[in-house]
């Protein structure tokens, strides 16, 4: 070893692009406008299950229960508790996403969805972002009402502890390429915030979540996340979002990365024959795909760990992938695993932190 000190997880800047806080309905009721505060207090009387609260996170969990499995507490309820957990993982800076509002797109009552996002953002700002400067916020919007979403972005644009706009990616009635979202994208661009599409497992009667043909969580969880990403990315490419908003940065969170080269290659093949259907695109779809950003979690775990490095080469992961743990959820990735993959030292530094600094515009 030379004079240069060997890098460890402790010496490296680690930005975690995806960490979850637990918003309970009683807390949000304090921030919600009438009459939705009344509804939230009613919901607060119900026993809470993981990402499953009637009315608030209507993501029915159909799994048959058996004893065993993880007994770890998978929610975090305060900034101090979260900071403590992240210290244990070796994470320096984290971007906070919600728990229940991962399913926000599935809330059928549009007014309630908008009120939930508003209440959550204000609660997050006061109880987490102002408490602990190393915790940054993803501003939640309700896709049910893109104009209200744009207003929400403008309302918080001076609160720079928010570092991105979070778009709920699962159970969405209108995919994110639709022009009805343009006012939201314009507002995000004006505020200087990138977009993060974050998926969640769901069986829901909206494309592509009609996954009730499967019997197991193995199938549903494996498919729901990447399908959410594939559907939204295709939608954004076919309406030319990266061309219409060239300065808007977009990231795809919680689907791993193996789906990216598949979609890129598939689309480049289609493009040869069907370019006239997407005349806004100026070049192969894969060129746009390599400009999007990607959370690493759940990072692939092939028997040969070097395969992850090869996979990352296929979508320029060295420059576009951002470490994400998904702490404290059941399928979180420990930073040590990603750190320990056989990347070059430079690629490791970028993936573990520098790419996120660039994407979120962090000052570190």
């Amino acid at each position: 070893m030379g004079a240069e000190q060997r890098e460890t997880l402790e010496t490296l800047l680690v930005v975690d692009a995806d960490v979850h806080v637990h918003e309970d309905p009683a807390a949000l009721a304090e921030y919600a406008e009438a009459p939705w505060d009344v509804a939230l207090r009613e919901i607060a009387k119900l026993p809470e299950r993981y990402l499953d609260l009637p009315g608030m996170s209507p993501r029915a969990d159909y799994r048959v229960p058996f004893p065993g499995g993880s007994n770890r507490r998978q929610i975090v309820t305060s900034a101090a508790e979260l900071r403590d957990g992240l210290d244990g993982l070796g994470v320096d800076v984290a971007v906070l996403f919600p728990d229940h509002l991962l399913t926000l797109a599935m809330v059928r009552e549009r007014g309630f969805a908008v009120a939930l996002a508003r209440a959550y953002n204000q609660w997050l700002y006061e109880h987490w972002l102002l408490e602990e400067p190393t915790l940054k916020g993803a501003l939640t919007i309700a896709p049910q009402d893109p104009r209200a979403a744009a207003d929400e972005v403008r309302r918080h644009r001076d609160h720079r502890q928010f570092v991105c706009v979070y778009l709920p990616g699962s159970g969405l009635r209108t995919l994110y390429g639709d022009e009805s979202y343009d006012p939201l994208y314009a507002a995000a661009l004006e505020a200087g915030w990138p977009l993060v599409i974050h998926s969640v497992e769901a069986v829901f009667p909206v494309f592509p979540f009609q996954l009730d043909g499967f019997r197991t969580g193995l199938s549903v969880h494996a498919l729901a996340h990447p399908l959410s990403m594939v559907a939204n990315m295709l939608s954004m490419l076919e309406t030319g979002v990266p061309v219409r908003f060239p300065d808007l940065k977009v990231a795809f969170m919680e689907a791993g990365t193996a789906w990216i080269p598949w979609l890129a290659n598939r689309l480049d093949k289609e493009y040869v024959e069907r370019r006239r259907e997407v005349p806004l695109l100026q070049t192969r779809p894969s060129h746009y795909i390599r400009r999007f950003f990607y959370g690493t979690q759940p990072i692939e775990e092939p028997e040969n760990r070097g395969d992850v490095v090869k996979l990352f080469e296929l979508f320029d992961g060295e420059n576009q992938a951002m470490f994400a743990s998904d702490w404290p959820h059941h399928d979180f990735d420990h930073p040590q695993y990603v750190f320990g993959l056989p990347f070059t030292a430079e690629a490791r530094r970028k993936i573990m932190g520098e790419n996120a600094v660039r994407f979120f515009g962090l000052e570190v």
Binding site: P67, G68, S70, N71, D333, Y337
Partner: protein, 97 residues
């Protein structure tokens, strides 16, 4: 035990010691719940069966299952935990490391 943490399990009066370190992502394996697990195949006459009740520990981090009496990882046959000899003497549990 020095820097090494072990978990000792009493399964039906027999003691078993395994490392408190999951080979997957180094989670605190022995803090996991102990249960049985599900099985299915020709050996169960093609009916879903609940087996090894009280003998399976699931890692609290990612739920990977291990059969404590044999140290076998239930799902990945290339992973086997180190097992330590445990003996009882004068009311003390002794582990040979």
């Amino acid at each position: 035990m020095g820097r090494r943490e072990l978990g000792i399990f009493n399964i039906g009066g027999e003691y078993h010691a395994i490392p408190n370190l999951c080979p997957h992502q180094r989670g605190p394996l022995c803090e996991g719940d102990v249960s049985g697990t599900l099985d299915f195949g020709p050996h169960t006459d093609w009916t879903l069966d609940w087996i090894w009740d009280g003998e399976v520990v699931s890692c609290p981090w990612h739920s990977l299952e291990f059969h404590v009496p044999t140290g076998r990882c239930v799902g990945l046959d290339d992973i086997r935990l180190r097992k330590f000899d445990v003996s009882l003497a004068n009311g003390e549990i002794r582990v040979r490391v």
